[in-house]
Amino acid sequence: MPLRLKGSAGLSKTVVWATLGALLVFVLLPTFYLISYVFVRWNEVRVEVFENPIIGDENWRQILKVLFFSFRLSLSTVAFDLVFGIPLAYVLARKRFYGKSLLEDVVTLPLVIPTSGFGFATLITWTTVAGLGGALGLNSGLIPLNALIPVVDVTFILFTVHVALTFPYIVRTLETKFQSIDITFETASRTLGASALTTFRNILFPLSLPGVFSASVLAFARSLGETGATLIVSGVSSTASIAIVRWTSEFKLATASFMGSLLVVTAWLIILPVELYAGRRARSFRIPYQLPTSLSNRLIKIERLVSRRLAYLKDILPLIVVMVTVIVPIVVVLNSVILYWSTDPYTGKVQGGVLYQLFGPSNYFSSVVRASSTSIIVALASTYIATCIAIPLAFVIERRWYGDFIRSILKVPLIMPTSSLGLSVLLLWGSSGFNLVSSGIWLITLTHVVFSVPVIVESIIAAYEGSEIQMYEDSARTLGATAYNAIETVSLPLIKSGILTGFILSFTHSLGETGATFIVMGRDITIPALVVNMVEALAIPAALFTSTYLIILSLILLAVIRIITRS
């Protein structure tokens, strides 16, 4: 019976306490402050939301309407993701082929691409003549902005954006889960006479069920919290996250924080049981059901046929989804920048060209430069602080008995709606709360730390669990190294790639973050927020340029990660 032995010695108490303290102050407090705010100011909230002297409980109705819309959107997104994501994850996990790492990068793109830029790209792809509409010879966009998908009643554009942004969560999580399951089980099933598809149904899928649940939860929550791109493509509909932004700007803080708390509580109520299920279940999988024989036999025959003849379908369909939702918009944006470079190609007016908007009277170029420096300072500072907290935190999680608990709490900032996060930080550190930091570059930095820490921690943990660090450290200890020496000379080098990957992922994410930043930025504008402003000011070519600029920056950084992890 293998017993899981956690190293006992190895971390000085001061370091542990300091790390947990930093976690509390910089990450957890801001995350959960929003809820406590609602409780503390309950009377205020109650009046504004339910018993408003002017509009009665109209705010509450709004909240409900918006909430239901968000749920419809997110649930349908996840369903779609699963149908196409599971086959793609399987292919990535089990097959080796030329161009595989390129495919993995393409799938990861939406994770690092700035959401507002991406939202904008999707917008022009589908709804304007500069996109698919024009390419197919039409005079206008392919699909109107507010076209609804039947049954679920969500707009097509919004749906596409959400699918694109959540697809990577499903695919990468499941890919990792599938890979973690010893392929020998599937091989055994094949030698016993089962086709590949039957093997998937009977063996790989049941064994990965916890992963399917946690991937779905992650994607669902990400969609619930998605703000940046949604701000741009929502048209007349409103998700919960956008509502928060709008209400905050209207100073309906009570309503906004109530909505935000509702979202946080919902997100948490979903993760917690799933984490518990996935955690415990991971140790004792059991199949409680058995299909009736006739059904089972028919399924087996179909699966045999599909495995032999239709195998290519599972390769192609997901690729089409990725192409349409991710690649095409990016290509369209890049293409448009070129098209619109000096003049508007349709009117011939110079005022409609990129150059004019950047260097002409509106002088967007200087805004871009200023926003760039703001973005980079914020990204560097927040990522650095987050890394300093994340490295010891990862060790604490791996080595203490309460590690699993901390790890599940860390998921909350990751999936919390970014606008809620922004509101929470604003309320905590800003003028309504401790009044330590005013809106601006430092508040943005503090906000970014909150969601950077979980990203870096997860990245380090992945590298940690992929290597037998405890064994090497134990070796080093008995060879004469103190705990600190062992970590410095042996453990850290071994997880170096994890730290670096986490750093770059965080940095890129911070560069492109829109939702939370929008709420706390005050006068210091970051690049993605600038895009939103440009779109609202109808300075389309400028928005085009800025989005492209941001997207290219992210692509370069992604390539850098790839090179580092390859070496």
Binding site: M1, L3, L5, A9, Y472, S475, R477, T478, T489, L494
Partner: protein, 368 residues
């Protein structure tokens, strides 16, 4: 004064007691093997001595000092893993010199010690290679070199040969012991391979369910096992149930199934007591005629298996019991053509007699 002393050491994991109140003393320069099956508690015991685990009860003394709260790096005992645990991001030289470097020795001293030891394990020409470029046997030598170079007096070896091919183990066993003895180190070597333990150890501690069932020199464990488990686990045995029917000054008679009798030289049991007689396959000879002075039984050969340098016979005796005999080949490969009319003989001095176990014989044997 023993170099390592364990007093009443206990370690639990939840409900399971992995190490159960163990007392142990290891002398300076001794090569001790801890022998037991998977799950017996051997690795837990070793890790506790190393300081990688804290015991729940009991004290551990190394070089006369109580080391219970002392961290691993100060215990002068290096732990070696089955998978060698060579640092993958360092080459052979960096691995081997890790110990002296981390202990802040001067660079001349580091160089001297590391070169000398690499010479000793005959790997000086591979000092720039990385672990993944080396074969299993070479990796093991580097791991040993690294342990010795650290200056530790005690080597704690956790199934050190387990990751190597079976045939390779036989050769490396000898080299391992020689290296330890030449360097005048003390070794505690954990294994589930009793043949390995018998060949390599000065003393063996047989571990079962967290306690030491028997401890002594290999020769003693082999020829004077104190329990059915030890008799079966170390060296293997045939087990025959019976009842004591007669005792005289120099021998006892045990009645077994079918009314047959075995004469044994053990006179410590009482008449009427239910017992189990154990005879090793190596002590059973197979022939066509009775051997005077021995117990003789007629029987049929059920199978003859050639195992490397020995032949193992399974013989069904007249009373329907089956015994196995294992004879080392010695010059000619004589296998018996006829399978009937075989005589199986074993001497009374080679029989071990144990009281019949309360839980039943099958349970005890299955535990082996």
């Amino acid at each position: 004064m023993a170099l390592i002393r364990l007093v009443n050491v206990t370690k639990k994991f939840g409900e399971i007691t992995a190490v159960d109140h163990i007392d142990l003393a290891v002398e300076d320069g001794e090569y001790l093997c801890i022998l037991g099956q998977t799950g017996a508690g051997k690795t837990t015991l070793l890790r506790t001595i190393a300081g990688l685990l804290k015991p729940d009860e009991g004290e551990i003394y190394i070089e006369g000092k109580l080391v219970n709260g002392v961290p691993p790096e100060q215990r002068n005992a290096v732990y070696m893993f089955q998978q060698f645990a060579l640092f993958p991001h360092m080459n052979v030289w960096q691995n081997v010199s890790f110990g002296p470097v981390i202990k802040d020795r001067s660079s001349e001293e580091v160089k001297e010690v590391s070169s000398e030891i690499l010479e000793m394990v005959r790997l000086a020409d591979r000092k720039d290679a990385f672990p993944h470029e080396l074969s299993g046997g070479m990796q093991q030598r580097v791991a040993l070199a690294r342990g010795i170079a650290s200056g530790a007096r005690i080597l704690l070896l956790d199934e050190p040969l387990g990751a190597l091919d079976a045939r390779l183990r036989v050769d490396i066993r000898r080299q391992l012991r020689k290296l330890v003895k030449d360097q005048k180190l003390t070794a505690i070597h954990v294994t589930h391979d009793q043949e390995e333990a018998l060949m390599i150890a000065d003393r063996i501690a047989v571990l079962r369910k967290g306690t030491i069932e028997q401890m002594g020199e290999p020769h003693e464990i082999y020829s004077r096992p104190r329990s059915i488990f030890v008799a079966g686990f170390v060296g293997g045995a045939n087990f025959i149930e019976g009842n004591v029917v007669k005792i005289d000054s120099s021998s006892s008679s045990i009645e077994i199934r079918g009314g047959y009798e075995i004469r044994v030289s053990d006179t410590s049991k009482r008449v009427g007591e239910k017992v189990v007689v154990a005879v090793r396959p190596e002590d059973i000879s197979v022939g066509l005629e009775e051997v005077s002075g021995s117990n003789n039984f007629h029987g049929k050969i059920e199978s003859a298996t050639f195992i490397g340098g020995s032949i193992e016979y399974k013989i069904r005796l007249e009373n329907e019991e089956t015994v196995s005999s294992r004879i080392l080949l010695s010059g000619n490969l004589k296998t018996y053509e006829a399978t009937e009319g075989i005589v199986v003989s074993f001497s009374p001095e080679k029989c071990f007699v144990f009281p019949y176990p309360k839980a039943g014989l099958l349970q005890e044997i299955e535990a082996i």
